[in-house]
Symmetry: C2
Subunit: 219 residues, 2 copies
DNA sequence: TCGTTTACGTTGTAAATACAACAGACTTGC
DNA sequence: GCAAGTCTGTTGTATTTACAACGTAAACGA
């Protein structure tokens, strides 16, 4: 229990809630922790979900595979980040994506109904958490729109430029690292890996960018 | 004021709130209505937004144009639907898209801070509205992910199939209408209009689909 | 009614992409 | 240290797309 609290107090969901308040809430939120090995699925497309999840340790990919084996990485989940909250609404249907551990991971499960309904109108902390939940999903919403921005570009080069300039802006500098290897970046942008690799090298030859592994510099 | 209430009581945001309760809230929410002619911009990329908006009448497109004039339609807004709520969080930056009226439209503006903070912990209706807001943005989140599903398909044909099957499922039948003309559908899927038109006709010739204007049938 | 505009389909060409196959550098596990 | 596996870049080909240009039909407005 103590272990949960040290992690949770640094999450967006519990931002502004003190440790002893978190401890008080945990008793009614019925948090449980599960472990997943690299390559295992935390959630699978089609299943029902009544939980909000927080990644305690490791790294996850939210992804979708089609009939032909093309993988599309919707999003990545880093420690202390929340996911599954899009399915917190009562009328939300089945999960539309797979969530896979790309490293050995530990995930905390919260019961959605407890967060949203139990004493939500009386307990101060609960109100804060609901608002935090709203801010978090609002932020994710903006991220998704941003990703739609990359994806709506017609050519691989434009997609790369859109994504890389965005990363540069987000990391406040023209030199930065990305959380993907080549195959994962290609899956994230929904393009062919070799074609993308080719395009990256062309851009390097033209003096637009430099890179070494997953570290990039815009020129 | 009376005019607002008849519209608002049918919106997701005020679902479960009685007319007299809405009337009571409106006084503190400072709702204001603005009109926009077809082609006018309701919101522009880069501007700050401190409002949640509800479309009272007309039709809007949430879109993005790039340097080369390629338009990408992120989403469409129909009457009684809400938009701009992704920027309700205090740390959200500038608006990332344009919102354009594609018909003569009327839009109601609400002050975000009033909705989220004023008496939110004491007033029952306010709590409901915040929860409705959460459900709404949660639903939009799922829609965005679904659109990412269309966009992540590699070929125009696959994108069309993904979108059309989804519409069929949503409208519970293999015969349905879509809210786009050809150019708008192309902008929505981020493909070239003529290439898409070509592909649609090929699919018709192959006996996969039938269509007349914006009405489609899957075979 | 007539001229204008808009929407849709069609075609040809240049450009970009997917796909497969392969080579070299590097990592990992034994 | 070595073998196996992974990651990245490279190349060639077939497929697909973007773009421009044009014809037609329907809708619209004066």
């Amino acid at each position: 229990m103590k272990e949960f609290i040290t992690i949770l107090k640094k999450t967006v969901l519990f931002s502004g809630v003190k440790e002893n308040e978190i401890e008080a809430m945990l008793s009614c939120l019925q948090a449980r922790k599960f472990s997943f090995k690299k390559g295992e699925f935390v959630l699978s497309q089609g299943q029902r979900l009544d939980n909000i999840l927080i990644l305690a340790k490791g790294k996850l990919h939210i992804q979708q595979d089609d009939y032909w084996g093309n993988r599309s990485i919707i999003n990545i989940v880093n420690p202390r980040e929340m996911f599954g909250e899009a399915y917190a609404a009562p009328e939300s249907g089945a999960v539309m994506n797979d969530v896979m551990a790309v490293e050995d991971s530990e995930v905390i499960f919260f019961d959605v109904k407890k967060i949203l309904t139990v004493c939500s109108s009386t307990c101060r902390f609960h109100t804060i958490v609901v608002q935090n939940l709203f801010y978090a999903i609002s932020e994710r919403n903006r991220r998704l729109v941003q990703k739609l921005g990359y994806m709506s570009k017609r050519t691989t080069r434009e997609k790369l430029i859109a994504y890389l300039s965005d990363q540069a802006k987000r990391q406040n500098g023209s030199s930065f690292s990305i959380p993907f290897n080549r195959q994962q970046l290609a899956d994230f942008l929904s393009v062919d890996r070799s074609a993308m690799s080719n395009e990256l090298c062309k851009m390097r030859n033209e003096g637009l960018i430099e890179f070494d592994k997953n570290h990039f510099t815009l020129l």
